[in-house]
Symmetry: C2
Subunit: 181 residues, 2 copies
């Protein structure tokens, strides 16, 4: 893929935040010309598809300040510094839904916005949940929903679910379910 690579000439650090950093890179394009790239650095995140004993998917409704509204998502959260994604997934599941688990299976990982950010989300699934109690972050407030796979699929179709990672996870689960029939 050598013919597609952009070489960094200079990196300007613009901002270091508590969640993201921002830098602007001057790059040399494959044709020798130069351009600039605005790049958001993100620590990475985990998301979890939690399935109850009754076969329901647990979703959370959360206010997202970036959007100025609430949206429905699977439980998710950013990686803490040096944290193993599996530990992070277990922690986020318990914090957001109140469920504990001793069995989390890794499904896949994906980039969310490769045009401007390096965020990589690791997706886990579990169908072994034990009821604990919610223990949200100081700055986290959310409602919990439990829906069947058919209901979740309908929420993707009618755009009640408007979040890429959540829709992807539900359609992935549906593909797996249809293949095991």
């Amino acid at each position: 893929m050598e013919h597609l690579i952009e070489r960094t000439l200079k990196t300007n650090e613009i901002f270091k935040g508590k969640v993201i950093d921002l830098e602007v890179q001057e790059v040399e394009l494959p044709n020798g010309k130069t351009s600039s790239r605005e790049i958001v650095k993100h620590p990475g995140a985990v998301a979890i598809l939690p399935i109850t004993n009754e076969g329901k998917i647990i979703l959370v409704r959360q206010y997202r300040k970036a959007l100025g509204k609430t949206i429905v998502e699977i439980p998710a959260g950013k990686l803490e510094k040096g944290e193993d994604p599996l530990d992070s997934a277990r922690r986020e599941l318990e914090e957001e839904t109140g469920y504990k688990t001793s069995k989390l299976d890794f499904l896949l990982s994906f980039y969310t916005s490769p045009g401007f950010a390096d965020e990589l989300i690791h997706l886990y699934i579990t169908d072994k949940l034990e009821k604990g109690k919610t223990n949200m972050d100081d700055d986290e407030f959310l409602d919990i929903l439990e829906v069947s796979l058919e209901e979740a699929e309908q929420m993707v179709k009618d755009q009640t679910i408007h979040d890429a990672k959540t829709a992807y996870a539900i359609l992935y689960l549906r593909m797996k379910a249809s293949q095991s029939l």
Copy 2:
């Protein structure tokens, strides 16, 4: 959803770029405490699922500076100022793949990174393609791939496709295809 809302107390504009802007908002949480939110403003984007006369999906392999590597995606690009998403989709399709179309159907829209960015992607589909010629942006370089739906699905499963919007679009197409059987 009143009990989940975060009220903005102050907005600090950090950066205005050619693609994204960055601001930090001080917010009042539902419990009355304050916190800060780092928010990336994005103009929004379009993505296209182009299907050839032979039933192949057109994908592009592109170097993404944010990731430091090439990844496989459906054709996509950001909205120009004041541009209608449908016009943008037609333009991006032709620029990136060389195909023109007079028929683009809107499928759905989704947020990519609601935790820190407002990017909303509008997804279109077309199976009416006419061969034109590629006309990429000055700073855009990519390779074109044509794959069957089965091959695309396999690329999602084996993580050759590592991009959320692309995997979501392919699994959505698969769901629709399986329902019309």
